[in-house]
Symmetry: C2
Subunit: 611 residues, 2 copies
């Protein structure tokens, strides 16, 4: 993207970037009353008023980054008032992202914000749970403050998963964030509530969570939910504990039950999740009040972020599936803001709110023409008009891949009694397009007391290595679905344990992969013939790149090509590496560094087995 330097604008964007900075309401009064001129007036456009669901001509007067008046505001123009011409365009609020993890994009803060902004998103919810798992409260605070320097409203949430992580399955956690620290973070002024404490552990296991819920509600903050695969009774229980959103609906009847239970449906349209067409049926077919519908991406790859976008894309998808444009824009703005009790600050175009706006020529295409943040045009017709602040990462976020010693092929070798000729093992089954796993079985021949991969039958080796010096060691298992013919692939960014996960055809290449990741400080690697074939360095917490977006995307492209060359047909091999084996409540067979996990949902129970 073309970056036009403009120091004055940069300074203004940085200043307005802090959502929680006290505002000068007296200045807004004076502009509204015609006593002092507006800094900026946006004129000639048609306003999409998402409060009233109307569209009508209206101009917008701005002062100090906030809106002073909306309507016929010619009287607010002085000799130094800048004007932004919106003739022929619609003015909508900046789009609001209800649930998206920056760290799952691998992009640094600046690069991530740049991608969102260029698609009209000016507010985003995040808790930085990955960095929290790796480096605790200081990491969470660092990312929060880094976002607050950006032209982006951060809807900061408590990273409950930074505490839950391995605890959910009874495994040894990283130091991460402890339960007392969750309460401390909740009390931060600019915290809006809790990020997705999942149903099962909350309700079945951890009384700490119910205390945290009470405190959250006492502070008038919100409990966002994660109601994947729960029964109707569990849904009632989940609503009863105070959860008022969910982003996991994939089927309209299931979504309807959640909306009826008072949960706003954050319809997911992200990388690997395409729920909008189905979930909008609750409105377009079942006729429910659209106030209960909003959007999120949850997960978004750099490619998705920069090409089709996130919330703007969700608007287009919703309209294509029968939602009226004004309703779709409400779902992308006020409905999300109201979930977080933030309508006073953003999500509508009205006096007192941040001057975060989007101009589009056509509501159905919803192609972003101009993005205005805090009253400043930051992006226009494909180009940035400001330079975003660079993000400097501190030392404590680096060097987080801590191996006790150089990993050897021997320790990644699956061993059996030398006398055995074969063995039946459990195999974790991976399927294209799904983050679920299924339990399969395979008879494998042994070789001198070891069990090699069976490349022809696609039974590959799988390893998870503790990278936090916890002393929990390395777990080994077998996997089917990657279809590598050669080499190994590995990653340090794996929800929600963030250990090293490796899939390979042989222990030697797998050991090379592990040691290379340690030398990078984390990332993704593809190894072939004992050599690094492609890699993406993610040196920040072992989760995030600090290179420009284009470079990160180029390295990912190269890695995907390399994986394909090794024979793997999966479209998102790294996503499946990240979500299929690490801990969490998706699937019933998992690999941990402590062994293979067999997860029984009802009643919830986890067995740790060798194979």
């Amino acid at each position: 993207m073309d970056l036009a330097m403009n120091d004055q604008n940069v300074a203004r964007a940085r200043f307005s970037g802090n959502t929680h900075q006290p505002i000068k309401r007296r200045e807004l009064i004076d502009v509204a009353m015609g006593k002092t001129p507006a800094e900026t007036v946006i004129q000639g456009g048609r306003l999409v008023n998402v409060a009233t669901a109307e569209i009508y001509p209206a101009d917008v007067a701005i002062k100090g980054g906030r809106i002073a008046a909306v309507g016929d505001v010619a009287y607010t123009k002085g000799p130094n008032t800048r004007t932004i011409d919106a003739t022929g365009r619609f003015i909508t609020p900046g789009l609001v992202e209800g649930h998206l993890h920056q760290y799952h994009s691998y992009l640094g803060v600046t690069e991530f914000v740049e991608a969102l902004l260029s698609h009209g998103v000016t507010a985003t919810a995040d808790a930085f749970y990955g960095p929290g798992i790796v480096a605790g409260v200081p990491a969470v605070r660092f990312f929060k403050e880094a976002f607050e320097r950006m032209p982006m409203r951060l809807i900061f949430l408590v990273p409950t998963l930074s505490w839950l992580q391995n605890r959910e399955l009874g495994l040894t956690p990283t130091p991460g964030v402890d339960a007392e620290e969750l309460k401390e973070i909740l009390g931060w002024d600019s915290c809006y509530g809790l990020e997705e404490p999942p149903y099962l552990p909350v309700v079945e296991h951890f009384p700490e969570f119910l205390d945290l819920f009470d405190e959250t509600l006492r502070q008038r903050k919100v409990i966002t939910g994660h109601a994947a695969g729960i029964t109707w009774q569990q849904l009632q229980a989940y609503a009863a504990v105070g959860v008022t959103t969910d982003h996991e609906s994939v089927e309209a009847n299931d979504a309807l039950a959640k909306a009826r239970a008072g949960m706003t449906l954050l319809m997911r349209q992200g990388s690997g999740c395409f729920d909008v067409p189905e979930v909008v049926r609750t409105h377009t077919e079942f006729g429910i009040d659209p106030r209960m519908l909003a959007f999120c991406a949850d997960l978004a790859s750099p490619e998705k972020l920069t090409t089709e976008g996130t919330i703007d894309h969700a608007i287009r998808v919703a309209i294509a599936h029968g939602v009226a444009p004004v309703r779709a824009i409400q779902m992308a703005t006020i409905n999300t803001a109201e979930v977080f009790y933030a309508q006073r600050d953003f999500g509508i175009v009205a006096p007192g709110r941040f001057a975060d706006l989007v101009l589009v020529s056509n509501l159905r295409d919803f192609a972003i023409d101009t993005v205005i943040f805090g009253g400043t045009e930051v992006f226009k017709q494909g180009k940035f008009l400001i330079e975003l602040p660079k993000t400097e990462y501190p030392a404590f976020l680096r060097g987080t891949v801590k191996l006790p010693h150089r990993i050897t092929a021997d320790e990644l070798t699956f061993k059996v009694d030398k006398g055995r000729r074969d063995i039946e093992v459990r195999v974790i089954g991976v399927t294209e397009g799904s983050l679920e796993t299924d339990e399969r079985r395979a008879h494998l021949p042994t070789a001198d007391g070891t069990v090699p991969a069976d490349v022809d039958r696609d039974v590959l080796l799988l390893a998870m290595i503790d990278r936090f010096g916890k002393g929990t060691g390395t777990g080994l298992g077998f996997v089917q679905g990657f279809r590598l013919r050669d080499g190994a692939i590995a990653s340090t960014a794996n929800a929600v344990c963030e250990n090293i996960v490796i899939v390979g055809t042989n222990p030697t290449d797998m050991a090379v992969a592990a040691n290379h990741l340690a030398s990078l400080g984390g990332g993704k690697v593809v190894v072939r013939g004992g050599k690094v074939f492609a890699s993406v360095g993610l040196p920040i917490c072992g989760l995030l790149a600090e290179e420009p977006m284009e470079d990160v995307m180029a390295k990912f492209s190269r890695a995907f090509e390399a994986i394909a060359e090794l024979g793997c047909p999966l479209k998102n091999p790294f996503s499946q590496l990240e979500f299929c084996f690490a801990c969490g409540e998706i699937g019933n067979i998992k690999l941990s560094e402590e062994g293979l996990l067999l997860i029984h949902p009802q009643p919830h129970k986890v067995d740790v087995v060798v194979a």
Copy 2:
């Protein structure tokens, strides 16, 4: 009303009455999951789901005063589960009152709650600003705690008018509540925000208010508005300072401008205010999203409270004026709850919320069949099934009418130089059906250095006496519109100064009225021929009765008859006595204890004159 004694129910209603008591979420989980039975199940009804705007058959399982599950909840029934039969009826959330002053009803806490409950209102917003003016923070705290013992959710707000009171017009305030105390009250856990800081003083005069606004928003609380008679530019400024509701719209275009500025319209249908038919036109004719509309009564006499009701009546009026029943019920429940960020606790029928419900047989009539509070039937087919807790008032709320000495006729006599034969005076004009006043003039003959009332031309004497020992004395003036032929009427409950106000035909009867009010500890009095002709004792703060509702209403009836006998044709003479002369921003000519006030709105300026 018939009060059926039932100690067990009384105890339960008292327990559940505290909105902010920690709830036992674990118990709700266990009921939702079928592990323990529900306490109560409401079965056979059709649910009005105000979140989704749907109506469908659903049962409701209740435990510990909250809802555990909604839908097919047969599995939650155990041998000891009570059932409430809702066959043939609709289940709606308990109605939510968005803005209503208990003290303007003159009723004690118990009697007021009884009246609201019998009409389906289970949550009400109040700040107790009148008691706050008279007796400060301890009074506000007393009323808050008294409500919290009742089967009523209190949406407690900061009584900004307890501070503003006489300050608004530059007069000597009562001790009331000081600015620091407003902040202290705001910080109370169960406080939802600020009650109606009016536009002009906030924006033009008092920087204290902007600080309070910032702190309110920081605490994620709400600033409710009072945007009477303001210009479009003032409206922009008012929204810009963070105000998100208004209850003062009387005209549809004016209301539209407020909704467009992000303010929820609390449409008023109270005693003397009948705004719903006009303001719903924003939805029924202009087509705005009904999410911006809700209801309130603001002021309600005992008669209105007990006969036509408040929010239930507003629903009926809205439906009669073209609003779909489900939308009208949303306006009476979820829309109001969302204003206060309280949807997690009330305003919808969903798990986790208080089991505050209304059963009605017909949505158009919306005649209340049964009222359920905290899972207990409290009112059914015209009868209370519980006895409400009595309210015991402490000594510091009594004896608040503090006169420096016995008032004499001489000091209520308007005097001029003995040599003058006549005088031109300003006369405050009062008009039937309006709380506004207009400035008139009259030439009056003098008599031995005094100016008597001119009963034939309806120019009567008017006095306001400091009753707080402030030393501000007594103001005298003239009034037209009451048409008393004889005697005097007087009151100690007068928004927003709460002084003694007297209208009379002669100083002798007026002095009798003042002294009788002091002996009562406050109230309303009608005097004729030097004797008390009728009176209503309001011994609590000089504002509230402590007698049963029927007795209060009987005394008011008698007083109204007495006033009519004196020749006054006004329908609500006490309302006009209360609102036409005391301080506040309504009208441009007022009487204060410091003299006659001439109020210039633009720029805002107050002159104090003799006559």
